[in-house]
C-alpha cells in the first residue's frame, strides 16, 4: 500500500502504512528531518507543518490523510511571503536557543500571519500557545512575530 502526496513541491510516493504519522514518514522514510519531535501527542507543536495551507501536528496526522495533498515543511517555508518574513524576523530577533522547537514555532507563526497579517498579543497567545519552548524563548518569539508583521506590512505598502 502506498500514499502519494507532495512535500515541499516534490511529489512523493511512500510505503509506510497509512496510519503512520506523517512526522515519521517525513523523518524516517523520506529523511526530511527539519520537522521535529517533542511529544508525539499534539502537546508541544515541535512537529508543526502545513497541509494544504493548514497548520497541523504531524505527530498525530496519519500519512493517509495527506494523500493527494500539498505538504509544506520548514524547508520551503521561505517560498511564501509570510514564511520569509518569519524566518528573517526569527534570525534578526535572535529568537533561537537550542533551536529544536523553532521550525515548529515558525510554521505556526507563518500560519498565523497568513490568517491575520497584523496580530495583536492576544492573537499571538492564541495561535502560539500550542508550541512549547523549553528554552523559554517566548518573549523573543512574540517580538519576532510583531517584527514579521511589520515587514509584511511594509512590503504591502511598498
Amino acid at each position: 500500500m502506498s500514499t502519494t502526496f507532495t512535500v515541499d513541491g516534490r511529489t512523493v510516493t511512500v510505503t509506510s502504512p497509512p496510519d503512520t504519522p506523517l512526522l515519521w514518514v517525513l523523518r524516517d522514510e523520506l529523511g526530511l528531518t527539519g520537522t521535529k519531535f517533542g511529544c508525539g501527542r499534539a502537546l508541544c507543536g515541535a512537529c508543526t507543518l502545513h497541509v494544504d495551507g493548514e497548520a497541523v501536528r504531524a505527530c498525530v496526522h496519519p500519512v493517509g490523510y495527506a494523500a493527494g495533498k500539498d505538504v509544506r515543511t520548514i524547508a520551503t517555508l521561505e517560498e511564501s511571503a509570510e514564511g520569509r518574513a518569519v524566518v528573517d524576523a526569527w534570525i534578526a530577533t535572535e529568537v533561537v536557543q537550542c533551536g529544536w522547537c523553532q521550525p515548529g514555532q515558525c510554521m505556526s507563526a507563518a500560519s498565523l500571519l497568513a490568517r491575520k497579517p497584523t496580530p495583536d498579543d492576544e492573537d499571538i497567545d492564541a495561535a502560539m500557545s500550542g508550541n512549547l519552548c523549553r528554552c523559554g524563548t517566548y518573549t523573543r518569539i512574540r517580538a519576532a512575530i510583531h517584527e514579521a508583521a511589520r515587514a509584511l506590512d511594509g512590503e504591502a505598502d511598498g
Partner: protein, 741 residues
Amino acid sequence: MTRADRTHDDAPPRDAAARRDATAFAPSRRAFLRGLAAGGGFVLAFGLGDRVLAHALSADASDTPFEPNAFLRIASDGTITLFAKHDEMGQGIHTGLAIEVAEELEAAVADIDVRPAPADRAFDHSLYGVQATGGSTSTWTSFDQMRTVGATARVMLVAAAAARWGLAPGDCVARDGRVERRDGTAALTYGELATDAARLPVPEDVPLKAPERFRKIGRPTPRVDSPAKVRGTALFSYDQRRPGMLTAMVERAPTFGGSVARVDDTAALAIPGVRRVVVVPSGVAVVADGFWAARRGRAALRVEWADGPGAQLDSARLRREYTRRAGFPGNVVRADGDFDAAAADADRVLEATYEVPYMAHAPMEPLSCMVELHEDGGAHLVTGSQFLGIDHPAAAAALGVDPSRVTVENSYLGGGFGRRANPAADFTVEAIHVARAVRDLGVPVKTVWTREDDLRGGWYRPLWVNGITAAVKDGRLVGWRHRIVGQSIATGTAFEGAMVIDGVDGTSVEGAADMPHGIPNVRVELHTMKLAVPVQWWRSVGHSNTAFAKEAFLDECAEACGKDGYAFRRELLAGHERLLAVLDRAAEAAGWGGPLPVGVGHGISVHESFEGFAAHVVEASVVDGRPKVHRVVCAIDCGQVVNPDQVVSQMQGAAIFALSAAVDAQITFTDGRVDQSNFDDFPILRMHEAPPVEVHIVDTGGKQGGIGEVGVPGVAPALCAALHGATGRRIRRLPIGDQLG
C-alpha cells in the same frame, strides 16, 4: 601509518610532561587528527593547561590547511573551522567561543564555521579535566584558552606573510581575515597564507589584547547557529541518519531498579518493520526500521517485571519522612556562633518548612544515541551529549575495548539542562548494549527516547525539604538554622571523591552553606537520604532548592522585622558589592517601592551561584486561583561579557524555565511508578503564560562567572513573595499548582 601520524609522532615534545600527555592521549587524538587532515593538514594540540603539545603535519605540501591547534583549521580556500570544546545546547556557546577566537585571530565571527568537537582529551574542560559542558563555566573557563588559540594562529599567519614579503612581522598587520603590509601596498588572505603558516614553529606565550582593545568581545554578535536552526537544517542527535540505520526503543522497568522477568514478544515481532526484540540490562529493546514501527512494537510487548528497590516509592510518604527528618539535627556543614543560644535569647523564633519536588529536565529534543559497531570490537557513536568525557570511556568499557577504538561524534543538543551530562553515561551505555545485542545485523542502530521515556526515566533534580529556623531580636536577624534533607547527586558517581567531603555533597548545600548574609549565628545541617531514584544535576542544581528556601524565608523574616524585602536584604548584604549592585539595579529598573495595580504583588530576591550574581523582581497576581506572572525584571553580574545579547537571552530563558518549575511541573511517585508522562501532566509554561522578562547587565569589574544557571534560582522565591504581597498567603512548597485555589 599515515604521514599525519608519523609527523605527529616525530614532532619533538616541548618537555617531559608534554611527552607524557601526548603519549597518554595520542591514540584518539591521532584518529581525530587523521580525520581532519584528510587532504593535508597541520595541527597543534593544546593539552592540559593549554600547553602546546605538538605539531602534526600532513601530506600535500601544495595545499596544506593550517591547523594551528586541535581547535582551529584554516584551509587554503579560506575556510575557517572551529571545533567547539563546549556543547551547543542553546546557551550560545558556539558563538561565544567563536567570538573569543575571532577577537584575537582578527577574522569575522560569521566567517568561522563552528562544529561540535568529537570526543578527545584536547577538548577537556579547562577546570574539570574531562570533556564536559556544565556548571555555567564554558565562557569563563575557555576565555583565555580560546583567545590564545586565535592569537597563536594570527601570529603564525603574520609571520608567514612577513616571510613571503621579506619583511619583519612588525611591518605587517592582521585585519579581517587578511594580513596587510603596513605600507598598504599588498595583502594576503588567511587562506593564501595557510600552507606557509602550517610550516612555521608554534609560538608560545603569545600576548593577548587588553580588554580596552576588544572589538568583538562585549558587543552583541549574531548567533552562528541561528539560520540553520530556524531553517531546520541544523543536525541534532535525533536527526542523525546513516545508510541502513535501524531505530531502537527500550521498554524500561516501571520501577527503578526493576528487571525483566519474562517477555512475550510475539505480538511485537508481528508488527511490520520490527526486526528484533532483545533484552538489555535496562529493559527490553525493540529494534525496527524506524520510530513508528519501534513504538508500535514496543506497545505490543508483554513484559513481566521483577520489582526493584524503587517499587515502594510514594511521594506523599517520602515528603512526610523528609519533613520529619528536618526536625532533627543533621550532619553539620556550617556553624557560626551559637544558633541555639541566639534562639533562646531571641524576641521571636520563626520556623518554616520549604520544599521542592523531583524535577525532570525535559529537554525539548528527547535523548538519542546512534552506535555503529566496528569489526575490531570498537565503535563510532553519534550522540547529543554534554559529557563526552564520561560517555567515551563508558562506551569503551561497555564494549570491553580500549577507548582508542571508540570515536564519538557530537551534534547540536536540543536542550540539555544537565540531563545530557549523565554521570553514569546512561543513554550512551544503553545504546551500546542495544547495538551489541543486534550486532549480527551489521547496521548502525539509533536508540531513541520518547517524551514518556524522558519524564519517567529518572535522573531528576532531587526532592528536597528544608527546615529553617530564624531568631529575631530587636528587629534584627540574629540566628539562622537551615536543615536540608535530600539525596546526594554525586554519591556513587566518579565525582564522589571530589564532591562529597566528610559525607556532605557540596551540591546539596550550595547556596546555603555559603550564604554571605550578615547573620552572627548560622547553622547549616544536612540529612542525606538514600533512595532508588536516580538523581542528577538540573539547571542550577542545589541552588534551585537552597535559594528558594533561603530567599523565601528571608521574606518571612523581613516581615517579622517589619521591613521591606529589598531594604532588609540590603542591610544583610552590606559589603557584598556584586550582590548589592544587581539587587539595586533590579529594584531600580522594576520601580521597586512604586505603586502596583490592585491585586498585584511584587517580590525580590538576590543570589550568587556559579560565580554569577543575579537579582530578580517578579510582579504577580492570582487569577482564578492560579498564579499570573505579569513581569520579571532581572539583573546579572557575570563579569566581562562576551556576547551581551546572549546573556540577555539566557536570563530570559532561565526565568521561564524557573517559572515552569515553580508553577506546575513536578515528578511524583505512586506505588513506585512515576505519575507524569508527557506535557499534559508535566506542564511547562506556554506562550500565553509567559511574562515579559527584562534583563539588565551589571559589570562591577569582578571576575568572570556563570550565566546559564545563574538566572534560575532567584525566580521562584521572588514569585512566591509577589504572591504573598498579592494575597497574604505564603507558598512554601513547589510547584504552586492549585495551592492558591
